[in-house]
C-alpha cells in the first residue's frame, strides 16, 4: 500500500507539470493580445510597454518563463515558498492572495460537502428503504428540483428570502447577506455568512447524491449476499447499514472525491452571487484579465486537489470494499 501511495504521489507531480505546461502553452498560443498592453496604461509608450514586459517576464520565450516558474515554485521566490510570482492585476504576491482566498473556498466547499452528504445520502437511504411511498416520491421530487434549479437562481432566491437586504417577507430576514467573515475573526459570523452558500451549493449535489444513493442501495439490496445476511438472521438495520450501504457507497465516494476537488477552483457562481471572493471567482477574473500568474496558481491548486482527492478515494475504496487491494 505504501509503495502504491508513493507511486501515486509521483504521478501527482507529473500531472501538475503537465497541467501547468498546458496552461502556459494555452496562454501563449491562444492570446487575445499582448498582456503587457493591459497593464501599461491607456496610451503607453514603447518604453513603458517594454518595461512592463520585462517586469512581468513576458520578454522571454514561454518555455523560459515556464522554467522560471518551475524553478520559483520549487525553490521559492522573494515572496516565500512556494514561489508563485506576483499578480499582474493587483501587483501583490500571488502566494499571499492564494492564502487569503483558499480558506474562503475551502470553507465553502467542505461546508457544502457536509450538507450535501448528510442530506443526499440520508434522503437516498430513506427513499430506497421506503420505495414507492409518498416519502420516496417527495424525496425524488426534491432531487428533481435540486438538479433542475440553477445555482445562481437558487442563490439569488435565497438572498431574496433570507438576507437582511432581501425583498421577501421581513420575518424571514434572519441571515446576514453576502460576504465572508474569517473564522479567526468571528466563528459565529463565519458560520452565519456561510449557511446560505452552503445550502445553495449543496442542494444541487444533494439531489445527485440522493438519486445515486437510492439507485445503488436498491441494486445492492437485491444482491444474493444481502439475502444470505437476512437468512442468517441479522437485523434489518445491520443488513442495511453494514452490508448494503457500505457496498453501495463506493460510487458515491468516487463522485464525492471528484466533486470536492473540482469545487476548489470551480465554485465560481456561488462565490460570485454570495461575494465570497474565493479561488473560483479569482480564476475567472484572472483569465479575463490575462493575469497569468494568478491563473497558473489556481490551476496548480485545483489540479493538486483533484490528484490528491483521487488518491484518497482509492485509499477509501480499499477500506470500504475488502476485495480491493493495491499492489
Amino acid at each position: 500500500m505504501a509503495a502504491y501511495i508513493v507511486r501515486r504521489l509521483v504521478w501527482v507531480i507529473v500531472v501538475l507539470l503537465a497541467v501547468t505546461m498546458i496552461t502556459f502553452a494555452i496562454f501563449y498560443l491562444l492570446p487575445t493580445g499582448d498582456p503587457a498592453v493591459r497593464f501599461a496604461g491607456k496610451s503607453p509608450t514603447p518604453q513603458v510597454l517594454e518595461e512592463v514586459r520585462r517586469q512581468f517576464g513576458l520578454d522571454k520565450p514561454w518555455y523560459a518563463q515556464y522554467w522560471h516558474f518551475l524553478s520559483d515554485l520549487t525553490t521559492g521566490d522573494k515572496y516565500g515558498w512556494p514561489g508563485l510570482g506576483f499578480s499582474f492585476d493587483t501587483r501583490i504576491p500571488v502566494r499571499e492572495e492564494l492564502l487569503e482566498r483558499a480558506p474562503r473556498t475551502l470553507s465553502l466547499a467542505f461546508g457544502a460537502a457536509i450538507v450535501w452528504l448528510t442530506l443526499g445520502v440520508t434522503i437516498g437511504i430513506v427513499s430506497a428503504l421506503r420505495r414507492g411511498t409518498l416519502l420516496d416520491r417527495a424525496a425524488m421530487g426534491f432531487a428533481l428540483f435540486g438538479v433542475s434549479a440553477p445555482v445562481f437562481w437558487l442563490g439569488l432566491m435565497a438572498l431574496w428570502l433570507f438576507a437582511e437586504t432581501g425583498g421577501g417577507p421581513d420575518w424571514l430576514h434572519f441571515l446576514p447577506g453576502t460576504g465572508y467573515v474569517p473564522f479567526s475573526e468571528s466563528p459565529s459570523e463565519w458560520f452565519t455568512h456561510l449557511i446560505m452558500p452552503w445550502v445553495v451549493l449543496a442542494l444541487l449535489y444533494a439531489a445527485f447524491y440522493a438519486r445515486m444513493t437510492r439507485g445503488n442501495l436498491l441494486e445492492t439490496m437485491g444482491e444474493d449476499y444481502i439475502r444470505t445476511a437476512r437468512a442468517k438472521g441479522l437485523t434489518e438495520r445491520r443488513v442495511v447499514f453494514k452490508h448494503g450501504l457500505r457496498a453501495s457507497l463506493t460510487p458515491i465516494v468516487t463522485m464525492f472525491g471528484m466533486d470536492i476537488a473540482l469545487l476548489v477552483g470551480g465554485a465560481v457562481i456561488t462565490e460570485t452571487v454570495f461575494n465570497i471572493q474565493g479561488l473560483g471567482a479569482w480564476a475567472v477574473r484572472a483569465t479575463f484579465n490575462q493575469d497569468l500568474p494568478a491563473v497558473v496558481a489556481v490551476v496548480v491548486v485545483s489540479a493538486f486537489a483533484v490528484a490528491i482527492m483521487n488518491l484518497l478515494v482509492d485509499i477509501v475504496y480499499a477500506w470500504l470494499d475488502p476485495r480491493v487491494r493495491y499492489q
Binding site: 487575445t32 493580445g33 499582448d34 503587457a36 498592453v37 493591459r38 497593464f39 501599461a40 496604461g41 491607456k42 496610451s43 503607453p44 509608450t45 514603447p46 518604453q47 513603458v48 510597454l49 518595461e51 512592463v52 517586469q55 492585476d89 493587483t90 501587483r91 501583490i92 492572495e97 487569503e100 482566498r101 416520491r137 425524488m140 421530487g141 428533481l144 428540483f145 433542475s148 434549479a149 445562481f152 437562481w153 439569488l156 432566491m157 438572498l159 431574496w160 438576507a163 437582511e164 437586504t165 432581501g166 425583498g167 421577501g168 447577506g177 453576502t178 460576504g179 457562481i269 460570485t272 452571487v273 461575494n275 465570497i276 471572493q277 471567482a281 477574473r285 479575463f288 484579465n289 490575462q290
Partner: protein, 641 residues
C-alpha cells in the same frame, strides 16, 4: 397511471420553479457582472435603460444640512480595477483619481471636486496660488503653503523636494508611470527617463517652499498636468524603498485629509521594516480614516469639506446585492454598473429619483474607422457612414437618453465650453441617419462604381468589424449593421472577449470597431487629440485606431498594411493648439481642430457623449460629483448620523 403521476410531479416542480423565478425577477437575475470597467479608457460605461429623461441632481442636502462624522461605505463591483497597484504614478483611471485626488494626495494645484465646469477648473492646493508663468511661457514657479504635512507615520512638513521627488518617480522607468509622457516637456526629463542624467535639470527647488519647472516648449495645459495625482508629493524615505511598478501602493503616505487605516503602525525607520498598511488589501477592501496631520486651514472647503470620519471601500462580486444594500441603507454608494432594472426603478419611482445622480461624463463613444483599410480608406465612404448611422438606435442600445447626449463631433461639449454645441456636420432627423444624403456621398466614392449611392465594390462586402462580446455591444449590432447595409456595406462581425487588445494591434488591420470610447485625463481637449497624433502610433497598445497621419515609413514599422499613402495628418494642428495657454483661445483652437477632423479626416462615427450615473443610499445627506475624476466627490459627501 404511474406516468400521469410522474408527469404531475414534473409539472408541479416546473411550476414552482417558474413561479419562484418570477418572484426573483424583481430582485434576482443579472447574475453575470460586467467586467469592462478594468479595460483601458472604459470606466463608467454601462448603459442605462430608460427612455425617460430624469432630473439631473448634483447634490441633495438633507433639510438639516450635512453633518460631520459617520462612515461612507462604497461597494466596488468585482474588483478595484486599479491599474498600478494604487501607486499614484501607475494609476490611470478615474476611480483611483477620485480617491487619491480627493482624499489622499494633494497636488500643487488641484480641483474643487465638484460637478460641472467648476469642477474642471484649477485652484491652488499645496501651492499658495496658481503659480507664476514666465513671459516666454517656459517656466512655472510655485510656492508651497506652510503647515502641510505628510500623514503618519512620517508626520513631517511637505517640502518642495518632496514634490520634485514625485517627478523623479515618474521618470523612473521601472515604476511604469502610465502617463509619464505628459512630463517629458520638462527640461531634462527625457534624459532622466533614459538614465542619462541623475536629476531632472528642469526642476529646481531653491528652498523648501519653492519649486520651478522649466519646459522645453510652451505647453498651455501644463498646470493641468501638475494637478494629476502622480505629481503629488512623495516622501523619499518610504516611496524610495520601492523600485517596481505598483509596489508603493500599499504603503502610500497621505498628504491629504485621510489616510489608510493603520498608517500610524507603519514602521518607516528603514525599508526593511516596512509592512503593507492594514487598511488596504487590493483583493478585498480599503479603509480610510482621518489623517491627524491634516490641517484644514491649509485647504479650502470648496475643494474638500471632509464631513465623514471614515471611508470603507469593499469589493462585491454581486451587482444585485450592491444595489439592494444601497437601497436598504447598508452602504451609501457604489462603483458599479447599475443593472438596467435598477436605473429603471430609480427613474420611474419619484421617491427614489433624488438618489439617482446623472452628470456629464466627459467621455465620447464612437465607431472607429481605419483609414488604411478599404472601404474606409475613402473619405466619402467614411462621410457616408457618418450620415447613415442610426445614432439614436445606438443610444437606445445604451438605454436611451439617460445614457447621454448624441455625440456629433469628437470632444465632449463641456470641455469646449459648449462652443460646438450646435455643430453637427452629418445631421439627420432624430439622429436616425439620413439615407439620401449618405447615398449622395457614397456616389462620390470609388467603391460605388455605378454611382447609384450603394457601394457595389467587393471591398464593401464582409467588412471585418470587431466588437466586444457583451450584451451592450450585441444590442448595438442590429442598428449598426442595418445602417451600413443601407449604403451597401455588409459587416463581418467578430465579437471577442477583450476587443481592445485586438484593435490596438495595428498588424491586425481591423477596418472598423464599435468598441472604443475615450474619456478625458483632464479638462483639456489635448487629452483627446492624442488619439490622432501620428507620433503616438504603436505596433501594439496603439490608441490611434484610425491611424490618422500614418506615413508609409511608420506603416512599415507598425506593420500596417493597406492604403498607407496620402493619409491626412493633424500633427501640426495639435502642436499649434498645444502652445496656447489655457483659456478661450486654446478652446477655440481645439474646437476648430475637432471640426477639421470631422470634415477633412473623418476617423470616427461619434455617437454618444456618455453621462456618469450614480445611485446613492438614503443615508447620504450630501453628495457631489467630481468632474475631474468622473466619479464620487468623496471630499464633499456626508452621511446621516
Amino acid at each position: 397511471m404511474r406516468h400521469w403521476r410522474a408527469l404531475a410531479i414534473v409539472v408541479v416542480a416546473l411550476g414552482l420553479a417558474v413561479g419562484a423565478a418570477a418572484c426573483g425577477g424583481d430582485d434576482g437575475g443579472e447574475a453575470t457582472p460586467d467586467t469592462t470597467a478594468t479595460e483601458p479608457a472604459t470606466t463608467g460605461e454601462e448603459p442605462a435603460t430608460t427612455e425617460e429623461e430624469p432630473a439631473t441632481t448634483e447634490e441633495e442636502p438633507s433639510p438639516e444640512g450635512p453633518q460631520a462624522g459617520g462612515t461612507y461605505r462604497v461597494d466596488w463591483e468585482e474588483t478595484f480595477g486599479f491599474t498600478g497597484g494604487f501607486d499614484p504614478v501607475g494609476e490611470y483611471l478615474g476611480e483611483a483619481f477620485g480617491i487619491q485626488s480627493g482624499l489622499l494626495v494633494r497636488t500643487l494645484i488641484g480641483y474643487r471636486h465638484t460637478a460641472g465646469s467648476a469642477g474642471n477648473e484649477l485652484i491652488p492646493d499645496l501651492a499658495t496660488d496658481l503659480g507664476t508663468i514666465s513671459d516666454d511661457g517656459l517656466t512655472y514657479t510655485y510656492t508651497l503653503k506652510d503647515g502641510i504635512k505628510f500623514g503618519p507615520p512620517l508626520s513631517r512638513e511637505i517640502t518642495s523636494q518632496d514634490v520634485a521627488y514625485a517627478f523623479e518617480r515618474i521618470g523612473t522607468e521601472s515604476l511604469v508611470a502610465q502617463y509619464g509622457f505628459y512630463y517629458t516637456v520638462i527640461e531634462g526629463m527625457s534624459e532622466f527617463m533614459a538614465g542619462e542624467a541623475d536629476t531632472i535639470s528642469g526642476i529646481t527647488t531653491p528652498d523648501d517652499k519653492t519649486i520651478a519647472f522649466k519646459l522645453t516648449a510652451p505647453t498651455g495645459d501644463f498646470p493641468f498636468r501638475l494637478a494629476m495625482p502622480a505629481a503629488g508629493p512623495a516622501p523619499r524615505e518610504v516611496a524610495g524603498c520601492f523600485t517596481e511598478a505598483g509596489a508603493y501602493g500599499r504603503y502610500l503616505i497621505s498628504s491629504g485629509p485621510y489616510m489608510f487605516e493603520g498608517s500610524d503602525a507603519l514602521d518607516a525607520s528603514s525599508c526593511d521594516t516596512l509592512e503593507p498598511i492594514a487598511g488596504f488589501d487590493p483583493n478585498t477592501s480599503m479603509t480610510l480614516v482621518r489623517n491627524p496631520d491634516y490641517d484644514p486651514a491649509t485647504d479650502t472647503p470648496e475643494a474638500r469639506e471632509n464631513f465623514v470620519d471614515r471611508f470603507e471601500f469593499k469589493i462585491n462580486s454581486n451587482p444585485d446585492d450592491i444595489f439592494n444594500k444601497i437601497k436598504a441603507g447598508e452602504i451609501e454608494d457604489a462603483v458599479a454598473s447599475e443593472p438596467p432594472k435598477v436605473i429603471r426603478e430609480y427613474t420611474e419611482n419619484e421617491e427614489l429619483t433624488p438618489l439617482l445622480h446623472i452628470n456629464a461624463g466627459d467621455r465620447t463613444w464612437y465607431i472607429t474607422l481605419n483609414l488604411t483599410q478599404p472601404p474606409f480608406d475613402d473619405i466619402h465612404v467614411r462621410k457616408a457612414a457618418n450620415l447613415v448611422m442610426d445614432k439614436e438606435g445606438l443610444r437606445r442600445a445604451w438605454g436611451g437618453p439617460t445614457a447621454g447626449e448624441i455625440a456629433t463631433h469628437i470632444i465632449p461639449d463641456a470641455m469646449l465650453n459648449e462652443t460646438l454645441a450646435d455643430y453637427d456636420p452629418y445631421p439627420s432627423e432624430g439622429y436616425a441617419g439620413d439615407v439620401a444624403a449618405a447615398m449622395e456621398e457614397m456616389k462620390l466614392s470609388k467603391y460605388d462604381t455605378d454611382k447609384d449611392g450603394i457601394c457595389d465594390a467587393p471591398e464593401c462586402k464582409d467588412v471585418l468589424y470587431v466588437t466586444e462580446a457583451d450584451r451592450l455591444r450585441q444590442d448595438m449590432q442590429p442598428p449598426t449593421s442595418a445602417s451600413f447595409e443601407k449604403i451597401g456595406i455588409t459587416l463581418k462581425v467578430r465579437s471577442v472577449e477583450g476587443a481592445y487588445p485586438v484593435i490596438q494591434d495595428v498588424s491586425k488591420n481591423v477596418p472598423a470597431s464599435g468598441r472604443p470610447g475615450w474619456g478625458k485625463d483632464y479638462a483639456d481637449a489635448s487629452t483627446f487629440m492624442v488619439l490622432f497624433d501620428s507620433r503616438s502610433t504603436l505596433p501594439t497598445g496603439n490608441i490611434n485606431y484610425s491611424l490618422v497621419g500614418l506615413t508609409p515609413e511608420q506603416a512599415a514599422k507598425v506593420k500596417a498594411s493597406g492604403t498607407v499613402e496620402g493619409i491626412p495628418s493633424v500633427d501640426a494642428d495639435i502642436d499649434a493648439c498645444n502652445v496656447i495657454p489655457v483659456g478661450d483661445e486654446r478652446v477655440q483652437c481645439w474646437a476648430d481642430l475637432d471640426k477639421k477632423l470631422m470634415e477633412e479626416v473623418v476617423p470616427w462615427i461619434p455617437y454618444l457623449d456618455a453621462t456618469a450615473t450614480q445611485i446613492t443610499g438614503p443615508t447620504v445627506t450630501k453628495w457631489d460629483f467630481d468632474q475631474f475624476s468622473g466619479t464620487i466627490a468623496y471630499a464633499h459627501v456626508a452621511v446621516a448620523q
